[in-house]
Structure formats: C-alpha cells, structure tokens
Amino acid sequence: MSGRPRRPSRWERLSNDQRALAALFLLPALVVLASVVVYPFLSALWISFEAKQAGTPGRFVGLQNYAELMGDPVFHQIVANTAVYTGVAVAVKFTLGLLAALVLAQPRPLNAVYRTVLFVPWAIPTVIAALTWRWVYDEFSGLLNNILIALGLTKNVVAWLAEPQLAMWCVVAVAVWTGTPFYTMSFLAGLQAIPRELYEAARLDGASAFQEFRYVTLPGMHAIFVVTVMLSTVFTSTSLVIVNILTNGAPAERTDILPNFSFNLAIATGRLGIASAANVVFFPVLVLVIVALSGRLLAARAT
C-alpha cells in the first residue's frame, strides 16, 4: 500500500493544465471582443481608405478621404470644437469634482444624504439628462428663462441653444452636469485612501489648511488625478449623445464635435469611407492616453 507512488493531487493536475484552462475561461470574452470590437475596428480602418457608399462595395482610394477632410474648413472647425468641448468640460468637471470631494470628506451631519444627492446625475441616463436639459433651455417654457424672468433679471427670453456665442457653453454645461459625479466619486475614494497619519503629522508641524492641501492632499491624489482625467477625456471626446440630442451641431456647426459629425456623415450622406476617416483622427489622442494610462494602470494589474 504505502509503496505505491503518490497520485498527483487535484491541485497539481489542474495547475499543470493552466493553458487549456485559461483558454477555456477566456473564450467567452475573447469571442465577444474579436467579433464586436477588434474585427470591426480593423474593418473600419480599412474602410477609411475606401470610397464606400452605404450598402455598396467599397473602392480603394488610398488617402483621398483624409485629404478631403484636411482641406475642409468645416472639419477644422469640428476638430477645434471637439478640443474646446472636451478641454473645458474636463477642466470644469475636475474643479467641481475636487471641490465636492473635499467638502464631502469633511465630517458633517447628514453627509451621506449630500453624497447621495450629488451622485444622482451619475445614475441618470445621459440621453435622459440631455433631453431634460433641452427642456430646461427651452426658449419660452424652460426653467432657465422662467427663473431669470421671475427674478427680474431679464425681460427678453434667451435662445440658449440657438445663440452662436452661447450654444457651446450650454452644451458643455450639460456634459459637466452628467460627468461631475464620476470625478467626485473617484476623488472622494482617493482622499479616503490618504493615510490619516500624514495629516496628523502635518498638523503637529503647524501646517495651515492650505499647506495641508498643497503638501499632503495633492501629492497623495496625483495618481487618481491622472487616471480620472485620462479616462474622462476619452469618454467626453468620443461620446456624441449630449451634442446629438441638444443641438445636433447647430447653430452652423458651432457645437458639432467629431463623433457627431462622423455619425451624421455616415447616417445622412451614407459616405462610410470618409466618416470612418473622420474618426481615425482621434487616434493620436487615444494613443497618447493609452501610453499614459498603461504605464500606470497596468503596472498595478498585470504583474
């Protein structure tokens, strides 16, 4: 009995076969990614070099689509709009999110209630938020004009979304409204992760509130700042919902951004080749984001 060689345990047998197991475990995710992300992505890159009308086979035209876009002043306007929209929205979301997180981190009665309220826009679907805001901005029946009139601040109604000078800022405001809770939440999480002792040490040393913020809070939050801004930049610049519902780019492309522009190119004119090419312009930005992100995030995850 005792002379028989020990049978490998279940653990040993299974761990010897990790490759097969890994393949099995990864199969569903890989099938999904290959079919609805990777293949369409490569296919879209290819289409961007084609003259392709919806429903017809494409014809290879090299860089012609890109050349047409580069020579189109409307496209330049769209790129500039996208940069302004994203830049301002991210900056304001960052500021408000940090402010909210700092305040919510203070001890105060009913803090949980305030936190819940401030996080609510996060749970409101973006389409719903955009529709609601469109109604808030309504010229005659909207909340904004009616409040201004009730407070006696104006007699003439403002056409918030039709005024060329105002429209973009009104659209950005909606992006801020829906996007700030993501920042608040990340920053609050980051603040809670800074060791208490650091603040106690700073206080013992007689640091002022500002010095605490400058020398303890900010350095401790650095990683979270980077990650949040990177992710948010990608999501803000690539999402068309807010623009599409509020203005669809009007007045005169003043509020149009790249994703909405290419969406309309594809849907309204059926020119799939140039619509794809318009999107590929995102790539330099995305690559930068990926490089910045992957160093930081993947170092923690994939080791």
Binding site: P28, P40, A44, T116, I128, W177, Y215
Partner: protein, 305 residues
C-alpha cells in the same frame, strides 16, 4: 510608489514653515475650522441646487397640465398636479414596449457580462500562460476604441448575421464595452483575494470553476456590484448603436424611443418628461440598492489604479 514618496517629502516640508510661523494657534485654528465648515455648506448648497435643478424641472413638468407648460403661462411648479401625462405615455405611445426591451437588454447584458468578465479576470490573474500581459493590455485598448468608429462596420456585420433590428444584436454589441471594462475592474479585486484561500478550496475538492464562483466571487461582492451597475446603466443608456442598429419599434429601447417623440409632435414635453422620470427610475433604484457597495467598490478599484 512615486506618489507615496512625494507625500512623504511633502509632509516634511511644513516643519520648516511652522518654525517661522510661530506659536499662537489654538483659537485661530478653531475659527479656521468653523470657517471651513461654513464654506463647505456654501459649496454644498450651490452644488445641490445645480444638481437638483434640472431634475426638479423634469419631475414637475411631468405633473403639469399643458396650459402650465407652454408659453407665457408657464409656471415654476404644477398648480394643478395631474398624472395625465403618464396616462398618455402608457396608453398612446409605444413607451411600454421600449421599457420592456430596455429591461430585457440591460438584464441579459449584465448577467452575461458578469459571468464572462469574472471568468476572464480569474484566468488573467491566476493562470500562467503566454501572452497574459499582452491580453490585459488589449483589454484596456479595446475599451478606448470610439463607438462612433465601430458602428459603421458593426452594422454590416449584424446585418450579415441577421441580427440587425433584434435585441440579441444590441446585447452582443454592448458586451463589447462592458466585458473589457468589467474584466479589467475585476482583475484588481481578484488579485486581492489571498491565493491560499483558493488553494484551500482546490485541496478540498472544489473545481477551478467552483473556486471562482464559491470562493472568489462571494468575497469580491462590492466589485461585482460595480460591474453589475456599470453594465446595467450602460445598456440602459446606450444611444448610438441603438439608433443605428434598430429601427423596428418592437426592438427599440428607451434612449432611441423617447427622442422620437419630439419629431412626432412638437407639443409633447409633458409625456416626454413623464417618460424621462419613468426611465430614470430603474437605474436610480439600482444605484440606491447598490450604493453602499459602489462606493467601497470604486474606492478599492480607484486606489488600486
């Protein structure tokens, strides 16, 4: 690491400052704290008004009569609250169909996402195989590919597979966003589960799948809550794919169904806002139920990042 070092460096520097600033600070510190608390309340007040304003307009609009809604007679609150808009919404529009489709799609997407990402995340953190790190990277990359690029080829793929105008097609398309993010999120948590716990399970005769579902997942519930919440709201929310891939009323979801009310009838804001109230309720309910785990879940996830 670097942030940590910076904190330590930063924490030391006030020492030199305080030496110069000198002694008296007991009373002024109390005053300072009171001022900070007061400023805090001011910030909260502004942010709360800003957050609640549009929601107030949405809810009150849905309760108003048409007379109170439009033009010079617009009121800031409903003088004669009525549920008539909700009645119109459910009786005279296909909203109930949109709602049903959204619920089905969101639930199925969420279920599939949690299973597929848990399996993938477990493999990526616990199995040794070639290409593991590369795969983890690709996950993050796929998450960053803009939807406005993917929808063009994806549409013809779905048409070829006879999946355009179907809920199945939308679920498949949504998995392309939910699975990478959730896998990536879960990897962080699964790493934090002690390997000894999993080995003990295997020794006790648990299968690999059993270890994942009976040992790892129960101890990472906050992370699963975040993934479930994320998948649910994303599918509930999705607009671009839904508007391109689906034109049939019977497969339409809320985000593409409701905006079509505007085109159909200009004076439709009452029922429209009623529909936004009803549509905001499920994700809000999910949010309130999961809130506790969401914050811990995101806290851990964010800190790991």
């Amino acid at each position: 690491m670097t942030a940590d070092a910076a904190v330590r460096r930063g924490a030391r520097s006030p020492t030199t400052v305080s030496a110069a600033a000198g002694a008296p600070r007991g009373a002024s510190q109390a005053a300072r704290r009171r001022l900070a608390a007061l400023a805090g309340y001011a910030v909260l007040l502004v942010l709360t008004v800003w957050t609640i304003g549009p929601l107030y307009w949405m809810v009150t609009t849905s309760l108003k009569t048409n007379k109170e809604l439009y033009g010079a007679d617009t009121t800031l609150w409903p003088r004669h609250p009525t549920l008539a808009n909700y009645e119109v919404l459910f009786r005279k529009t296909p909203f109930a169909i949109y709602f049903r489709n959204s619920v089905l799609i969101a639930l199925v997407t969420t279920g599939l996402t949690v299973v597929a990402s848990a399996l993938a995340a477990h493999a990526l953190v616990r199995f040794r195989f070639p290409g593991r790190r590369l795969l983890a990277r690709v996950l993050v990359y796929t998450y960053l590919v803009p939807q406005s690029l993917l929808f063009i080829p994806l549409f013809s793929i779905l048409v070829n597979a006879s999946l355009s105008n179907t809920r199945t097609g939308l679920v498949l398309a949504y998995l392309g966003f939910t699975v990478p993010f959730c896998t990536w999120l879960l990897m962080g948590y699964f790493l934090s589960v002690p390997v000894e716990l999993e080995e003990a399970g295997l020794v006790d005769g648990c299968s690999r799948v059993g270890v994942l579902f009976r040992i790892v997942m129960p101890v990472t519930l906050p992370a699963l809550a975040v993934t479930a919440f994320f998948s649910f709201t994303l599918s509930w929310n999705e607009y671009l794919y839904a508007s391109v891939f689906v034109s049939d009323v019977n497969a339409k979801t809320i985000p593409t169904g409701i905006p079509s009310f505007i085109i159909e009838d200009v004076f439709f804001w009452g029922p429209m806002m009623a529909s936004t109230v009803v549509s905001a309720l499920p994700p809000l309910a999910v949010y309130f139920v999961f809130q506790r785990w969401l914050v811990t879940g995101l806290t851990l996830g964010a800190v790991k990042g």
